[in-house]
């Protein structure tokens, strides 16, 4: 697939949550159809998609039919089972590519990859068993955080070590899953860069956003971020380095800690990213459309920022505030159409134009 994908082609999306939903809307804006693959019933993305396959990632027939119906396949989350990807890729290209997925699916592999590029990451140690845990605590110390190597998101699969005495409990919390112990980083704040790369190697970055987390979940992203112009340049160059090293096609999120010693890479996500939702109301072409443009071989769009924006996630009971938010000036609501409100569940977000 070197030519741009023709108008009216079908983009397959693995995962039917809010990211798939907003990707689907962006694809439609460019005249593409979307087909959602999602095990769960009534997926939010299904409300705005041309077709939905409701099936498990173990259902080979469903995966093959899905792949046959699509001209390119992308995903809204990085933990798609490898066997499912193998089946799909035998029939249709997957973008971004498998290498980006392989690396980002495993915290240890990811950190070694980033270090290999000459980027700075937090001190870390592999924790494959109890003996390794003791060694890791000796090397990294405390405070530190033990994180499962795979399948972690929104603070899940993590345990804090306030002192080395917390090591046994933290290790037990992993339930035997391979993990990584990460050392404490003395950062002033966290920023992220949402970057895109086309098949031709063109790179475009959005202005970095400043993130605030609560209870391990992103609470807000503010643009512009509090960064010096040289930090801003470092952040963008660093994201471009990651994209090029992976021969990446699509949008990638890079989370960075800002420290007195420079920028430290927290993690990368090979997909559109919650901290890029502000682009919907701050740019002519948002991160979702940029991803669609990249994976279809269309020219990357103009991602320059035309407004100051504060994005705030609406989580669980925040939905009670929707009537008031709907009446606020300079405020754009984006709700995900999820049937049930649950504590900790991302239900929507607002983008407030602040200037």
């Amino acid at each position: 697939m070197t030519d741009p994908l023709a108008l009216g082609s079908t983009i397959g999306i693995l995962g039917g949550g809010q990211l798939g939903r907003m990707l689907s809307v962006a694809a439609a804006r460019l005249g593409f159809k979307t087909h959602i693959f999602e095990p769960g019933a009534n997926p939010p993305a299904g409300h705005v998609a041309d077709a939905v396959t409701t099936a498990s990632y173990e259902d080979a027939d469903a995966l093959r039919s899905f792949a046959a119906a699509c001209d390119v396949v992308t995903f809204e989350f990085e933990n798609v089972p490898t066997a499912a990807l193998d089946l799909i890729e035998a029939q249709v290209p997957i973008r971004p590519g498998r290498e980006a997925l392989r690396i980002s699916q495993d915290r240890l592999t990811e950190k070694e990859f980033l270090q290999g590029l000459g980027l700075t990451v937090a001190p870390f140690a592999d924790v494959s068993d109890a003996a390794a845990m003791a060694t890791a605590v000796g090397k990294i110390g405390a405070p530190s955080i033990l994180k499962t190597r795979r399948f972690g998101y929104d603070g899940k699969g993590q345990a804090r070590l306030r002192t080395p005495d917390d090591a046994d409990q933290a290790f037990a919390d992993m339930n035997g899953a391979p993990a990584v112990l990460e050392g404490f980083v003395d950062f002033t704040h966290e920023v992220s860069v949402i970057a895109a790369r086309s098949p031709a190697g063109d790179v475009a970055c959005y202005d970095p956003g400043e993130n605030v987390h609560r209870d391990g979940i992103l609470h807000s992203t503010t643009v512009p971020a509090n960064l010096t112009s040289s930090q801003r340049m470092d952040a963008v160059l660093l994201a471009a380095k990651v994209l090029n090293a992976l021969d990446y096609v699509g949008v990638l999120g890079v989370e960075l800690f800002v420290t007195r010693q420079g920028l430290i890479v927290n993690e990368i996500a090979p997909r559109v990213h919650n901290s890029g939702h502000w682009t919907q109301n701050g740019c002519t072409v948002d991160q979702f459309e940029q991803h669609i443009r990249a994976i279809t071989g269309w020219p990357l769009g103009d991602g320059s920022r035309h407004a100051d924006v504060v994005m705030e996630n609406l989580i669980g009971d925040d939905m009670d505030r929707v009537p008031a938010l709907a009446a606020e000036k300079d405020t754009a609501l984006h709700l995900y159409g999820k049937a049930e409100v649950k504590a900790g569940r991302k239900m929507g977000h607002v983008n407030r134009i602040t200037r």
Copy 2:
């Protein structure tokens, strides 16, 4: 339905073209589902809707099932057959209401309604038969335009009279359909106001746009329009007068001729309007979301303009320009996903941010 419609409710949309498509996306952004009713196969709106009914407006069973699946019904075009509306309205509210449809479906009724409000319209005369045509030409003269009373759009169902000698041909062109002869208006340019009214009677207007037509079809809309501040105020007050007189709920488009003697109302459209597409990239809340907010009883959103925009329609072969347009700076593409390119067919539009 006095309380706001609950999140997750279903909005029925009569008509599956580009307006239904963009309404569907806006509804999803607020957490609603949509159900499209459209006789034609593969409607553009169906690509981004939760459900589609493909059936004729004469299919009573299909209309009843559709109505039963919806919590409120709206429409993307004003020529929905009356019997279909009667069937639907027996089960579920239709917004905007029937009165607005009744008036805007008939050019003669519309002109009499507007005159009754004290607004200025072009000189006009009823042409129900050949004798009435002769009388009308005597009264209105030429140049003038003969237009069918019903089912006209994008310049269809119209015939020009350059001199009174063209009267017979123009009358023949109507194929016996009741018509209205409209006198020549010496206008400098055309503007339109996109206005919204909530069930509670709140009114919000977008900044007027300046329209250029080619071959009877809208070519471009530019905001801000070339208007004095008193003209701007007149335009907005006039739109509000129409909305209030109709006890209107939803978005309405009002086309105005700007003349040395003041503003003359060309026509009203009881729906989102092509000349309001610029709001997608010029406002925090666009005309499609504003319509959804109004018909669901949600608070009207902030429609203040934050950019200068030129909207240009992509018609027929304009689609050949898409690759170049996709690479333009400050340009947002909106394509409708129509399967076939035809001469005169609206295929998409671009919004160019000019400041």
